[in-house]
Amino acid sequence: MLKRLLLLRGTEIIVLALLACIPLTVSNSYLLGLLTLLTIYGILLIGLDVTVGYLGQVNLAQAAFLGLGAYAAGLSVSLLGFGMMGALGVSLLVGLVLGGVLAFPALRLEGPQFALATLSFSALSTTVLNEWDGLTGGAQGLSLNRPPLFGQTLGASGFYWLCLVILALVWMGMRNLLASQWGRAFEALRDSPIATDAMGVGTFRHKVAGFALGSSLGGLAGGLYAFNFQYLQPQSFTYDLMVILLLGVVLGGRKSLWGAFFGASLIVLLPNLLSNRILFEVISAAGLLLALVAGGRGWMKKTTKPFQALAPVIAMGMLVAGGFMVENTENWRKAIFALMLFSVVVGLPDGIMGFAARYLTKLFRISPSALPPASNLDDVLPLGKSSGGVLLELQALKRYFGGVKAVDGINMKVKKGQVHGLIGPNGSGKSTAVNVISGLYAPTSGEILLGGKPLPRGSLFKVARAGVSRTFQNLQLFGELSALDNVMLALKGAYRVPLPLVLLGFSRAEDRRAKADALALLALAGLADQAGMRAKDLTYGAQRFLEIARALARKPELLILDEPAAGLAHPDVSVLVSIIKSIRERGITIILIEHHMDVVSELCDTVTVIDSGQVIAEGTPDEVKRDPKVIKAYLGVAPDEPVAMPA
């Protein structure tokens, strides 16, 4: 534990100190220029990594935010006479506001649509910078002077130190943020936006916040960029730069501050790398070798498909061959970027830092950080029988899809503290009914009352916040997050520290408490010893139990379990039954959709049977099993005398 902290923080401090000392010992203005650029690109790429790495979207607007921030800083100095800090503040704000504005249309979008929205935004901003020449000087460019910082004029090394300090602050802020609930939420909404909403976390605000944050760092980097070069041109911030930035993030390694830093160094060094023929050939040969080794290993172990292993080798081979054939590598720089980026995306999806991190963790035997002892479960979910009365009431609930009447006028009352079964043949409308209750679909008509008050309609997020939690028939776990993080993400009422304090690192205490509480819930689901595993690596049964633990973290009044036993092996079914029993002991009302009749008989106090979107029977499990209408619905014929229901 201490070793981990020492190694990780120690490396950061040593690198920072080294970077800070260089101007004291070496007086080479070219080197200083490169270092300054390195810090600026570092900030820019950390911002880009929020969308590309954590939100998992291809963001093509970061170069535009760099440009907009740069022009904002430049103009606030030349037109408004702002000082250094004021101008940088303006550039940060421009990135934040425009990022927020762009995030709204981009919000509902995934994948290609998101990429398109950001691409149009950057094309549009280049047009504006070019054409609004009264303000920006158009294609002629904009010259500006570096303003004083608190009355002091900054020389080259002074400005470098300023950039370095800002990079260090951004680094610390981001590290704190990404380790907090915010970071978890960013990753969660990449893996499953639906579950993020259903856990009351809210995709909306986190997506906007994540994008605006990344863009604001782009703007801030733009401000520094402006004061570094003191001359701006719209052509500097086009698509070409964007591709280079993506190269930096992907090659360095996504979801990693070190990756962003490494990517930035690479971008800064690329021009030198390309102009020096021998260096270029050495590096391309090394790339080819790496592709051969990595591809060969993957191919031998059959973890990668042949073409997947071969493609990076071909790309790197083209690079090496090109190095011998082409007269001037400088002219081919775009093609060189393309080939390098291609090889990395295909052959090294975690980037160089992702690869190195795994290797270094093994080398230094760095263990993952230790877990706190679990809280007492009774403190997380207090014991207690809730008194009778109706918790949930459905009044003539309807949901039509076009002409299909999936739910056609259901009336149902769920009593407090009961396990209420909801059964019916396949396609009878059970799942649609709970999807309407939990807010995935808005009802076509009818009322849903929770404790006498109408439940919000058609919003998973609002229903979750109102005290209803659910699991999904088709698992909706956050696959890349650990089991522990899955539960921590959903934990209700655990995170109260406001964003500015989170950035300063004041959320550690509450995060620790949340971790302890989440461990207690994992223990309830029998997953205490698998807390650190990624959700997608758990066994199928464990994944089902994890969904229950996660839903419990909402501390719900009403818990909806949508076919929790589907696909479970027999021993797991008995575990499931005992988990549900211990949940009932804590006074939580449960709606259980299930096909296993033995599970239903054992657990349910009341059972409602649905067929063709309508209630056909209600009563105790034994009563409905004998109901002729129920038997007909399942077997298709009304028997002369009652027969047992199929299990």
């Binding site: 249309p105 509902r108 398109l116 149009s120 070019n130 093609a335 060189i336 980026l341």
Partner: protein, 292 residues
């Protein structure tokens, strides 16, 4: 302002818009089968145009150039499918966006170095003399564009609706897994769609080049407009892209007339962002239901 001039601008813009529609149609073809589009399609148009120009310069007759250009486009489409799209889809990632962008970059750089950075004229057997329709002059080239676009789209639509292979297309786009269970190879259908899409891109290049000239920068100019058309119209309506393409072309030409040519791309881009915000499935697209 003289009405005739406005009408003149609108009509020539609209005819150019037909080409944007054709490129956008290429996006629809691949989106239907694989839910992916080639972000390097603009470069594909440009590369095919350059290749065709080279064929002409080598002395090939015009009809042979068209065939050669189309085959080249189809081949490039297949390369994109194998090296970018399928590779990424095998890893179940959105990596295809990045990989097709990379392909475009490589194509751009290659064109810059092989054919040079300057714009070059592209000869055409059709005369560029203007014909007069009610005071609006339209060149033969512009008419050829309209006819060519509609012919290509018509042939492909016929193919999709009247042949068995075309029905496989519809099957894969409706439900990939079900189609596979019925013995249709989704992989082959996706390859076919990328081949067709590349061919369509090559046709767009051959049609538009005599009017605009050929140069590496034509790629980015065209692709942004084609994206706008495809998104505003929706990625599943062939009729929609033609309508929106014509409107957008006219709008663009009027914008550049009134605000200056630097702004000509602005309305399309704004419309694209607006369309994504208000109707992510496009004006002619169908909304889909969230499923869990």
């Amino acid at each position: 302002m003289n009405m005739t001039i406005i009408a003149q601008m609108a009509v020539s813009g609209a005819l150019m818009g037909m080409v944007y529609a054709l490129i956008a149609y290429g996006f629809q073809l691949t989106y239907a089968t694989s839910k992916s589009i080639n972000f390097g399609q603009g470069e594909l148009v440009m590369l095919s145009a350059f290749f065709s120009l080279t064929l002409l310069n080598l002395g090939a007759p015009y009809w042979l150039m068209v065939i050669g250009g189309l085959l080249f486009g189809a081949a490039m489409g297949l390369v994109v499918e194998r090296a970018c799209v399928r590779l990424a889809l095998e890893q179940k990632s959105e990596g295809w966006i990045l990989l097709t962008i990379i392909f475009g970059l490589l194509g751009f750089s290659a064109a810059e170095n092989i054919w040079g950075r300057d714009d070059r004229p592209f000869p055409s057997p059709i005369s560029s003399d203007a014909l007069d329709f009610f005071g609006i002059s339209i060149t033969g080239l512009e008419i050829a564009v309209a006819v060519g676009v509609l012919a290509v789209m018509g042939v492909i639509e016929l193919f999709k609706h009247k042949t068995l292979l075309g029905k496989a297309f519809a099957a894969v786009s409706a439900d990939r897994d079900a189609a596979e269970l019925m013995g249709i190879s989704a992989t082959k259908t996706i390859m076919l769609s990328y081949g067709l899409s590349g061919m369509v891109a090559a046709m767009a290049g051959i049609l538009i080049s005599p009017i605009t000239t050929v140069g590496p920068t034509m790629a980015s100019a065209l692709i942004l407009k084609a994206f706008s058309v495809a998104v505003v119209a929706g990625l599943d309506s062939g009729f929609g892209v033609v309508v929106i393409g014509i409107c957008l072309g006219a709008l663009e030409s009027l914008t550049s007339f009134y605000l200056g040519s630097g702004w000509r791309e602005a309305p399309g881009l704004l419309l694209l962002i607006l369309a994504l915000a208000v109707r992510p499935n496009g004006v002619f697209g169908k909304a889909n239901i969230r499923k869990v």
